[in-house]
Amino acid sequence: MNNTPLSTTASDPKRRNLRAPIVIALAVVALGAPMVLGTYAVHAMVIALIFLLPAHGLNLLVGYTGMLSLAQAAFFGLGAYASALMSIHLGTSFPVNMLAAIALACVIAVPLGIPALRLRDTSFVMCTLGFVIIGQAISKNWISVTRGDMGLNNIDKPTVGLAGYSWTASNPVEAYYLALVLAAFATWVFWLVVRSPAGRNLVAIRENETLAESLGIPTWNYRLAAFVIAAGFGGAGGSLYVHYISVASPLMFQTLYTTTMLIIVLGGGAGSITGVIFGSFLFVALSEGLRIAPELRMIAYGLSLLILVFRFPQGFAPFLMRIWDWAGGVDKKEGSA
């Protein structure tokens, strides 16, 4: 989110210059949190980091391309099942499984996206919801492969091997650092995508598709590409999730997962990377960490969705931008807007 170059104004004595300290402080907090927090709180932060992956994908669709898709949970579940099955039957390691989950989610997103993207607005939402329901039906009824409602258990904890040395994230603290690295990498990839000319074309499609098309942007290809990339992020999240909690079950296609991703993106601020990271920690880590009863948490999510839609349609992103501007602004009231 570093839009304003610091160097040009760094010599101004009145400037607060708090941006670098804020970033460093956040990095220290992110790296040091597991050493201070209890196991359960670390677990909550791991879940938040994992959900950041599909949330980035959803953000690409909702925030950058302007398509409200509920299918993200379907790709999350697909990635989870693909990883689990590979781990159980082929015994492949976590990085292989995750790459396979991403590839599979991307490949399956093409035949699903081609018909779905022909639809607009409500019809698109209904169709993407349909993908989740079908995913759930398959995971429940294809018993010979998915073991139905019993689910797949005892999936290996994520192991990363490099040149003969291998390391397994067997407890929440280790899983936290693995998830942190992967989430940071995913955020970097996401940043590359949205900052590229292609990313700007997506925003153009969001703002005015007809105008974008008239400027020669192949809108159809871009929307399909966005759908496929988002699916890849969903598959990656599912793979990491299943290796962390070591169970894959049809519950993964529940409304809970769709809603969680939706609230991260809308609450954090669609179209804002920092907003979504913030949203992930605020909504997932907090609710998980406070150990609220699942029903109460769902009620709180529901109310938050209502408040967000009607009162804060841009989520927390404007609030974060204000802090950022304040941190880089001057002491007098002439701070940059």
């Binding site: 939402v125 109310l303 969705l305 967000l308």
Partner: protein
């Protein structure tokens, strides 16, 4: 043969239930241009109202119907005041997210109050009657009868009363309605309460047949209502009745010939196929919305 006839009769009766739920959703879509993703929750609320009235208050079944519908109306009024009225003219994304939020709140409040376990609904008229060798529960006949009455009533209301005419007017052009002095908010509110009351009503009607009552029961109803309203053509009352019957019978036949576990997939496969080939519905030649 009798087996097939029985299946079709059962299909018609579940189709009748879907029709009563879906017609409310399609009317709400008509005036608001928004899919009410919480629609099944009002079906759940009606059922819970009826269950509470019979098992905790000891009321007879007809009184339980009134109680359940009354509870649904009160809750719908509150939701309508705070949520639905704000959705007039709001973008599609906002209405999707808002109704998903309402669905979460209603569903989990019910689970929180009554617990997550399955409850047993024991009232109603479940003795079968026989036509020759074909048997059907009395309750199912009652449902079919009520469905016919509801649709006759809706046709009359939409065609001849002032309220019905304003509903049609609002579903055609909101701005023009405001210009000629129609209270759009009031029409939206009335349609919303009418639609949700019908959903609650059909919940209590089916409870004796479905027997089990639980907090998550509304979700599957919402999911089945979506293909019906798309098949019927969004906002089309008569089309909804036909589409509901088609889905009900198709589900019943699939359950009978392929197994019960495939029954619930029929709806969503239908929905996706419909959206792909005839997004404007089976009965109209072009999209209204």
């Amino acid at each position: 043969m009798y087996f097939l006839l029985e299946q079709i009769l059962n299909g018609v009766s579940s189709g009748a239930v879907y029709a009563i739920v879906a017609v409310g959703m399609t009317m709400i879509f008509g005036v608001m241009r928004a899919i009410n993703f919480a629609h099944g929750e009002y079906y759940m609320i009606g059922t819970f109202g009826g269950w509470y009235a019979t098992s905790a208050l000891g009321l007879p079944y007809p009184a339980a119907i009134l109680f359940g519908v009354a509870v649904t109306i009160v809750i719908a009024y509150v939701i309508g005041k705070f949520v639905m009225q704000r959705m007039i003219g709001a973008p599609v994304e906002a209405s999707v997210v808002a109704t998903l939020g309402v669905s979460l709140v209603l569903q989990n409040t019910a689970i929180l109050i009554f617990g997550g376990s399955y409850k047993f609904f024991s009232a109603g008229y479940i003795e079968p009657v026989f036509f020759g060798d074909v048997g059907i529960a009395q309750q199912r006949l009652l449902i079919i009868l009520v469905c016919i009455l509801v649709f006759l009533g809706l046709e009359l209301m939409v065609g001849f009363t002032r309220m019905g005419k304003t509903i049609r007017a609002v579903s055609q052009n909101i701005e023009a309605c405001e210009v000629v002095g129609i209270d759009v908010k009031k029409v939206v509110m009335t349609t919303f309460i009418l639609g949700t009351a019908l959903a609650g009503f059909s919940g209590i009607l089916t409870a004796p047949v479905n027997v089990s009552v639980y907090g998550g029961m509304g979700e599957i109803i919402t999911f089945k209502t979506l293909p019906i309203i798309v098949m019927g053509g969004l906002g089309n009352v008569r089309g909804t009745l036909a589409a509901a019957m088609i889905l009900g019978i198709a589900e019943s036949l699939v359950a009978g010939h392929f197994g019960l576990q495939y029954r619930d997939s029929v709806g969503f496969i239908t929905l996706i196929l419909m959206l792909l080939w005839r997004p404007h519905g089976l009965f109209s030649s072009r999209a209204r919305f």
